[in-house]
Symmetry: C2
Subunit: 384 residues, 2 copies
């Protein structure tokens, strides 16, 4: 059956129909008062979503572009930075830091394990000369389904006093509580095709006062991603360069949907869907990659031993037209990943779990009790 795909990957995520239809409107001039009004409304709602009093800056780029803007605006060549590395995206930020000539120190953890905050504490406490200029952390590591303990690591950064904390919140923002001003996070980057419930193409960067001070002396060359220009334009409900007008139409609608649902409810929904997915997968006798204490709210990585991960994906696609994500890099072929980020309801979780039961049955996964997955998921929903 055509045109009936269910997208259960950690981005792009499903997009509400009214967002899609908003994007189908004719573009208007981006320098018109009408569009300025749209930008103004979006900016207010972005501040609400980011739990910050500062303007959130919007760039036309993928999440990688937003992270680049988050790094190059606040640092100078040769600056020492610590980068938490426990997955594909974290390693991308370390490579990026290398590419810009930063003195990059990778703080590694195994893929599937969270970063150890103690290692950061030790490095930061030992740095009495205050040479560490930034700590770069991937909050939710999409490649492994790990949620790193940003709150604790950030506390150590705050005790250091000098270093900025730069956060990849691409699959955590709008999924899990991230009180930017309360925690004093300096730079938080994210992307539209995630918790925002709109298609890819927009990146967002929240910037603290302290980071803006660092901006004044930062020497890495920049132009398109020079956030000073975005700060000036944002204050005037404008943009330095042409924005992706139709994506902005969609963003406006999506942010209003989020405001209507409320931050607490959004976070609770993601937590419920995460828990239901994890308990169901385990009830079906499949091992999870991430432990309970470090489970991403965006994606659950499953590391099956009795069936092949890629077979689960291909049968799931062929039989039910449900798209799951595979493993990346060293985890390729070893895991499959179920996305539950953004516009995903309890019904979607039940759908994917019941389909998974059927797929596992077909693949001869014999240790399974039929119905156990759905039973576990509904129990979670009933209890929460």
């Amino acid at each position: 059956m055509e045109n009936k795909n269910l997208l259960m990957i950690p981005g792009p995520t499903p997009v509400p129909e009214k967002v899609l239809l908003a994007q189908a409107q004719h573009p208007i001039g981006h320098r018109s008062p009408e569009f300025s009004e749209i930008i103004g409304e979006i900016n207010e709602n972005l501040k609400w979503l980011h739990q910050t009093q500062q303007d959130v800056l919007t760039v036309t780029a993928s999440g990688t572009g937003a992270m680049e803007a988050g790094i190059i605006n606040f640092l100078s060549p040769g600056d020492r930075v610590l980068v938490g590395c426990n997955g594909k995206f974290a390693e991308r930020w370390a490579d990026m830091s290398d590419a810009f000539g930063l003195q990059t120190e990778r703080i590694n953890a195994a893929w599937g394990e969270p970063l150890d905050p103690k290692v950061f504490r030790e490095k930061l406490e030992a740095d009495t000369n205050k040479e560490i200029k930034a700590v770069i952390i991937t909050h939710s590591e999409t490649s492994t389904g790990i949620l790193n303990d940003l709150e604790t690591i950030n506390r150590h950064v705050k005790n250091h006093g000098e270093a900025l904390i730069i956060v990849d919140a691409v699959t955590s923002l709008g999924a899990v509580n991230l009180p930017i001003d309360d925690w004093g996070l300096d730079v938080v980057a994210s992307g539209s095709q995630k918790g925002y419930m709109i298609p890819p193409g927009l990146g967002f960067i929240a910037v603290s006062e302290k980071a803006w001070q660092a901006y004044e002396t930062a020497k890495l060359p920049k132009f398109y991603f020079d956030l000073g220009a975005y700060r000036n334009s944002t204050a005037k409900n404008s943009t330095p360069y042409t924005p992706p007008i139709n994506l902005m139409y969609g963003l406006k609608v999506a942010l209003n949907m989020m405001r209507e649902e409320g931050l607490e409810n959004i976070f609770a929904r993601h937590e419920r869907n995460t828990k239901a997915t994890r308990e169901a997968v385990q009830a079906l006798g499949l091992p999870l990659l991430a432990g309970n204490d470090a489970a991403s709210r965006a994606v659950t990585a499953v590391a099956p031993t009795t069936v092949e991960a890629e077979k689960v994906r291909s049968v799931m696609k062929k039989q039910f037209d449900i798209s799951l994500a595979g493993g990346q890099n060293q985890l390729k072929g070893k895991i499959f990943r179920i996305g539950h980020l953004g516009f995903v309801s309890e019904r979607d979780v039940l759908t994917v779990i019941s389909a998974l039961e059927e797929v596992l049955r077909e693949l001869g996964h014999e240790t399974m009790t039929p119905g156990a997955g759905v039973a576990a998921a509904t129990r979670v929903f009933a209890e929460s």
Copy 2:
């Protein structure tokens, strides 16, 4: 009357309804075979549109981002570059070159005049040490409606032998003939909300073999805009980072529409609409900013003396809901600009001209013969 805006600015341009509706489809995974097929089709059509055998690279960014990619991938700090400066966008590229530490030499012409190829010839001939690494030219300068003589300037660059020619073709690609391989253009950057007939959010960069050789030794730092990654991915019908999936849906449809119309027909339509607009404006007694030999096919700048340019725009918007562009920077308030780029038909030109007559009448522009504008435009259409 609501929802009846006619967009006659040089970007964003009007978007065909079937492109808008294509963008309203649910996103699919960007790493799926289905999406890879879409990328493959787009890539073939981009090569056709660019008249090149090389892969054209697509970045998620505005035209400014595409130009940045076109500059930073092929140059090193301290490299001497000549930048043709006769408008807002040209000056942006000069500022960008400064921001990246290039030794930037501005070759100025008045805003509203074309660049003088002779000055480039003299500079290039005098450079016997081959220190000039690139010449950066804005082909169609959107802020003034000037089409620079790229063909001649490029010939001088070719005689120099060492320098690359880097072209901002943002409002010329898909509007006027630009045979990239035939002329041997090295880097040609453009943006989606222009001749492509889709909303903003995508940038395109065509790269010659010679430019790829320069890439190997170019030392400006880069990551998100590192075109080597895009080259590798494009060859596999993929993208290095998440592409704006829904814009790509639209691009696919728009490129097919362009192929159906044919390059020659597209260029002829733009030439006809340009000529009709210019003759109509003159027949109404209003001076044009650009001369006939240097008229952009994307936009016509009008410099009225008997009426205020901003009043023309505001009455046009209020009375007829037609959006015209204003002047920028030093031309603010002195000109208004009529866009005829992309999805613009003869009917649209007649519409804006007939509305302009009424606006001029209301503003007391007394030297006008009623009907003269439409008469001039229809004469052009009848003759061509």
